[in-house]
């Protein structure tokens, strides 16, 4: 039977935590107790074996996957920007003294554009007849705001392809479905959202990369956003009835289907 205090000393020796005086004491004990010496040798051999285990390289795309999942803007210090300043930044022009009149002018034009777009969506398929809408000029202007809308995360997926990576997620409130995509494509891609038009109708669209010239095409039961490169893209839909809905995301490159995924949003619990 090995005394407990010597078992402790053996383990301290293995862990490199033994003091010189304890070491002498242990050595003396081991020289007198063959059983203790055997346990000591076996534990040392175990430790040596463990030290021979080499570290394994993590998958080469681990870093990319992590970066695709984080929100790069999480720690950006929020800067208060008025709509007018945002417009000035958007078009990169300083209007100087004439700023006041132009401010109202732009407000009018933006309001008109927003109104026309919403009308075209709600007043039955003007978009279908027209085929497509150049969305660049409508950037961030057309969302109908609901007071205190709270969204619930419904479903999310990662995209990890050689040509394109990112995430797609859907959130919902009682009346809205919010679709958000972070995409990074090595070449221009086309994004298609398929849904049931009896359940959803497009409310608004926004994107982060204002330099990108996209075309948004509305068809029966689907939307197509062309010439997508890199950035954040958001679609807001009105829910016609509060039932579970699904949305199918497809990514094409030169008409070849690269990615396909359905995400679900449950019945609103609000």
């Amino acid at each position: 039977m090995i005394e407990q205090k010597y078992i402790e000393l053996i383990n301290k020796k293995i862990d490199g935590e033994i003091t010189p005086s304890e070491s002498v004491k242990l050595q003396d004990y081991l020289s007198r107790r063959q059983e203790a010496e055997q346990v000591h040798d076996e534990l040392m051999a175990t430790s040596t074996l463990l030290s021979k285990m080499h570290e394994v390289e993590p998958p080469s795309n681990l870093k990319k996957k992590i970066l695709n999942e984080i929100r790069p803007d999480l720690y950006n210090v929020p800067q208060k920007t008025s709509l007018w300043n945002a417009i000035k930044n958007l078009i990169g022009v300083d209007f100087g003294a004439s700023s006041h009149r132009l401010k109202y002018g732009f407000s009018f034009v933006f309001g008109l554009a927003a109104g026309l777009f919403i009308y075209s969506v709600f007043a039955n398929n003007t978009l279908d007849e027209k085929g497509s809408v150049e969305i660049t000029d409508l950037y961030g202007t057309i969302m109908q705001r609901e007071a205190s809308t709270r969204f619930t995360q419904a479903d999310k997926a990662s995209i990890n392809l050689p040509q394109v990576s990112g995430t797609v997620s859907i959130k919902y409130s009682e009346n809205l479905l919010f679709t958000e995509l972070f995409l990074r494509a090595s070449q221009k891609i086309d994004l298609v959202l398929e849904y049931d038009e009896n359940l959803l109708v497009l409310n608004s669209f926004a994107k982060s990369n204002i330099d990108e010239s996209n075309t948004l095409t509305a068809n029966v039961n689907s939307l197509k956003l062309s010439e997508v490169g890199e950035g954040k893209y958001a679609f807001v839909f009105n829910r016609k009835t509060p039932v579970a809905v699904s949305m199918r995301f497809k990514i094409y490159s030169a008409s070849n289907l690269l990615y396909e995924k359905s995400l679900e949003a449950a019945v609103s619990d609000e």
Binding site: D15, E17, L43, T46, H54, E55, V56, K63, N76, V77
Partner: protein
């Protein structure tokens, strides 16, 4: 110096510098992946855990206590995530036969040598918490005090549980002839 660098990187992240977070990933992804791998013994799951750990780390950076060592904090997340994963898995799958199984696919057997396989297999005979202690002490060479913080148990308990874990591991390896019994 490393600790100062880590604190600086955290500060830069909090100022919105994503490149600083990339530097943190570069520095620690191998370690965190290996910690998870040795506890879980599955490459895909270890990758998922490493990914989750870094995402949570990013989201919690603002709560980092700079009086603590950054890597201890990160290890703590990795250990918790790995143990939680095994708890969930056990709950859904009952007895964890897959972890104890010595059967590997031909590809896995080809890639791993006999000794590594045997040690991995022997480690799977320990309780997950015992495995975590072995990983932190033997693969990461951490002091009792650091392990105590990471595992959130007193230092005295670290020692006693580590000794038991090592004894158990020794017995398994002994039975398999990987530790000489003269």
């Amino acid at each position: 110096m490393t600790e100062q660098n880590d604190a600086l990187l955290v500060q830069q992240c909090l100022e919105g510098n994503v490149k600083a977070f990339e530097a943190i990933i570069d520095k620690y992804q191998k370690t965190i992946f290996n910690v998870a791998l040795r506890i879980i013994n599955d490459n895909d799951d270890a990758e998922d855990i490493a990914q989750t750990v870094f995402i949570k780390l990013y989201e919690k950076l603002a709560s980092f206590d700079s009086r603590r060592k950054f890597f201890s904090w990160l290890y703590r997340m990795a250990i918790n995530e790995s143990l939680n994963f095994l708890n969930q898995k056990k709950r859904f799958e009952g007895l964890n036969d897959a972890l104890l199984s010595d059967d590997k696919t031909p590809e896995e057997s080809y890639e791993e040598n006999e000794m590594t396989q045997q040690i991995e297999s022997a480690l799977m005979h320990l309780e997950p918490e015992q495995r975590a202690l072995i990983v932190l002490k033997h693969f990461q060479n951490l002091a009792y005090q650091e392990i105590s913080y990471i595992m959130d148990i007193p230092e005295k308990m670290v020692k006693s549980r580590l000794y038991s874990a090592r004894q158990l591991l020794k017995d398994v390896l002994l039975r398999r002839g990987f530790v000489a019994n003269d």
